[in-house]
């Protein structure tokens, strides 16, 4: 069985304890989360979470079904079923030992369209957004200079097209009383 990465967008009710419920579900069923991000959605009262999970197809199917069973989970969209865009954000602090290095680092950063968000005499903090590949490449480029610290948000994702009826139907938030 091949292990594949799946990006899941999960819309949940914005209530205390929802994330614990999801995390505990993953833990007790032995599902592996690679990254996770949570934030408010455009609909009041609802949050959007993005999970990157890896596993065999059967495992992913179970992840989706078990998530769907949680009362506070509204929709689960597996982005591997349709085209999607994904991004993550990283803050990276790198040391500078000479003015030559400073120039070189700034050049690389500009190639990556990384923004400088904090400047010290002997360090710079960059903000980079992009897909996972870009993050990895930037880290690789900065490694020789000495990375002091870095932090990544994990991925967020959206389907590309508004025309995919399947996804839209699944993602529709109804507020009809049961």
């Amino acid at each position: 069985m091949s292990i594949e990465k799946h990006v899941l967008s999960v819309t949940v009710r914005d209530k205390p304890g929802v994330l614990v419920r999801i995390a505990s579900l993953f833990a007790r069923r032995g599902f592996n989360i690679e990254s996770l991000s949570v934030a408010k959605s455009n609909v009041p009262g609802y949050s959007k979470t993005t999970f990157v999970v890896s596993g065999a197809e059967k495992t992913i199917e179970q992840v989706e079904k078990q998530l769907q069973k949680l009362i506070d989970v509204i929709t689960v969209v597996d982005h591997s079923e349709a085209k999607y865009v994904d991004r993550e954000l990283m803050l990276l602090k790198v040391t500078i030992n000479s003015s030559e290095e400073r120039t070189e680092i700034r050049q690389i950063a500009s190639d990556f369209r990384a923004r400088i968000v904090d400047v010290h005499r002997n360090a710079l903090v960059f903000e980079v957004t992009g897909d996972e590949g870009k993050m990895e490449a930037f880290i690789e480029q900065m490694q020789p200079f000495g990375i002091v610290e870095l932090i990544r948000t994990g991925r967020v994702a959206l389907t590309r097209s508004a025309a995919d009826p399947k996804i839209i139907r699944k993602a529709k938030i109804t507020t009809k009383a049961v």
């Binding site: 949940v12 769907q68 938030i173």
Partner: protein, 570 residues
């Protein structure tokens, strides 16, 4: 109106007539409000007992069971009961008090994070933070517990909310956008299922706990298509045992005919089952050639363990009649004959040359009780013997801890079953080990004079473990011996005010059972049975269901079918 009064009023509105519980500091305000209510409260002697009784109340009636407990230890004592109800899909609402809101998170006296603790063992749970939310939360809890795949819901209510004045609206619409169970089976899938059945030469139907609520539809379906039927432990009672199609229980301690039918069939029509490992044995050898049609209300059960070729998600009450519409009596006479042959060749049999054995006691109990009686069991050898020798005839009458395998379930379950079904005979088949795990409920049984026959099948040890030690652990009997320190159960019963008898032989067993069955009051019968009796057939853990140790089930003079050579029981 105070929060506590709102809780009671909301419960009355849900049609609650009985609550099982135990009071305490953080819930006594609710008890005070209940003092003026018509709701009958059953004071259990342990919160675990309350949870199991509420569970059995649901199982035997289809109405949501309600358990009430205080904070801290009261709440944590419910957990086994919640986990048990979760595993066996039993609809239950548990309400716990908690310390006042301001003290939550401060490690206050009798505080526990019951909301956090019970997440994994409930279908849903609540920590109420606003008194005005109470009507909505209670309404939602009953809705969630009883619809779709049933399960337990816990509501934790801090004490200050119970006292606070309610200023909200009682008539609230509930809004659960993330909860829409599928009830109606998909027409295309039902058609596909019908086609597969028509093309099958050797089909079987496996009926599980999900079928208990669709027994009439099930019977009509089987009467029409005439397909061999296997009932799992949780499916017992959903199909009458007298029917010729019935083959008994599958799996680890299933009947030879059921397991042979599974191993040789070309199609399984799974009806409200979840393919538990005790049913399937080794998955890779579980009917590998068969087409699997899986009908279940929970989509997450589809292809979780056994791949379903034709899934049909929905309520069996909806699916079965519609499936029957597409079908006539199946053209499978050769297969019917084959299955009937197995059934005739391997009837239930056991040796009675020894002292009294469990199996004959359980058969005697069945003979002396009526067809509509309710059986509850504890967990272990006696449970398997009861499933095989005392399968009940009506839906919702065989009450046993299937998924969690909870020792201590049977006695409080008998309390719940008896109170929910006044006038119905209840038989609690227990082991001497498990009955002691909630023995305190004898007090509840005495208090309400519940007509329960408590049949302790006393072999002086933890028999199921003893059997495994004998067969797989070179007879190293580690920590299973109870006889040297068991109480005198008859005297114990008497101490609680219940008639009790210690029984050592066949003749007195028969008389005692006859008398107890007619007495219409609680009686405890303690049967001393042969210690080394084993449950056969047995599929060893990790083996396929076709590989059975037949043991004393062996037909006379026929040794060809035995795959594992059975050790003769000493």
């Amino acid at each position: 109106m105070t929060g506590a009064e709102v809780i009671i009023k909301a419960l009355e509105r849900e049609g609650v007539d009985t609550i099982f519980g135990m009071t305490g500091g953080a819930i006594m305000v609710v008890y005070d409000a209940m003092y003026d209510s018509d709701i009958k409260h059953i004071l259990m002697r342990h919160e675990q007992g309350a949870a199991h009784a509420a569970d059995a109340y649901y199982r035997t009636t289809g109405k949501v069971g309600v358990a009430l407990a205080t904070s801290g230890p009261g709440a944590t004592n419910l957990i086994t009961g919640l986990a048990n109800a979760m595993m066996d899909s039993s609809a239950m609402v548990a309400i716990t008090g908690n310390v006042p809101s301001g003290l939550i998170g401060t490690d206050a006296f009798q505080e526990s994070d019951i909301y956090g603790i019970t997440g994994p063992v409930t279908k849903h749970n609540y920590l109420v933070r606003d008194v005005n939310d109470l009507p909505r939360v209670i309404k939602e809890a009953f809705h969630i517990a009883s619809t779709g795949r049933p399960g337990p819901v816990l509501i934790d209510i801090p004490k200050d909310l119970q006292i606070e004045e309610f200023t909200g609206d009682f008539d609230v619409e509930i809004d659960l956008p993330g909860y829409k169970p599928t009830i109606k089976g998909h027409a295309g899938q039902i058609k596909k299922a019908a086609e597969a059945l028509k093309n099958s030469k050797e089909p079987i139907m496996i009926v599980g706990g999900g079928s208990q609520s669709a027994a009439d539809e099930l019977l009509a379906f089987v009467d029409k298509v005439d397909i061999p039927v296997i009932t799992t432990l949780m499916g017992i009672g959903a199909f009458p045992t007298a029917k010729e199609q019935w083959l008994g229980m599958p799996g680890m301690h299933g009947t030879v005919s059921a397991n042979k039918a599974i191993s040789n069939c070309d199609l399984i029509l799974a009806s409200g089952i979840r393919f538990d490992d005790r049913v399937t044995g080794k998955i890779s050898t579980f009917a590998p050639e068969a087409t699997i049609i899986h009908m279940d209300i929970d989509p997450a059960e589809i292809s979780k363990l056994v791949k379903a070729h034709v899934p049909v998600v929905g309520d069996l009450k909806n699916i079965l009649p519609r499936l029957a519409e597409h079908l006539e009596r199946l053209d499978i006479d050769d297969w019917r004959q084959q299955v009937a042959q197995w059934k005739a060749k391997y009837p239930e049999r056991y040796e009675t040359e020894k002292p009294l054995v469990s199996q004959e006691v359980i058969e005697m109990l069945r003979k002396e009780t009526t067809d509509d009686c309710i059986v509850t069991t504890e967990v272990g050898q006696h449970q398997m013997f009861a499933a095989r020798l005392f399968p009940t005839e009506k839906p919702r009458t065989f009450v046993t801890s299937g998924g969690l395998g909870t020792m201590g379930f049977g006695l409080p379950a008998a309390v719940g079953a008896s109170l929910a079904n006044p006038g119905t005979q209840v038989v609690c088949i227990a082991g001497d080990g498990s009955v002691q795990m909630n023995i305190q409920e004898l007090a509840t049984i005495y208090k309400h004079q519940l007509p329960i026959i408590i049949a302790i099948i006393n072999n002086g040890c933890l028999g199921m473990v003893r059997q495994w030690q004998e067969m797989f652990f070179s007879e190293r009997y580690a920590e299973i011996y109870l006889a040297d320190s068991n109480p005198d159960f008859a005297k114990l019963a008497e101490a609680y005010g219940i008639e009790g008898h210690n029984i050592h032989d066949r003749a007195s067993a028969k008389t005692a059972i006859e008398k107890a069955a007619k007495s219409n009051k609680p009686v405890l019968l303690n049967f001393f049975v042969y210690e080394a009796e084993n449950v056969f057939p047995m599929v060893p853990a990790g083996a396929g269901v076709g590989d059975m140790i037949i043991g004393d089930q062996m037909p006379e003079g026929d040794y060809d079918d035995v795959i594992y050579e059975a050790e003769v029981v000493k």
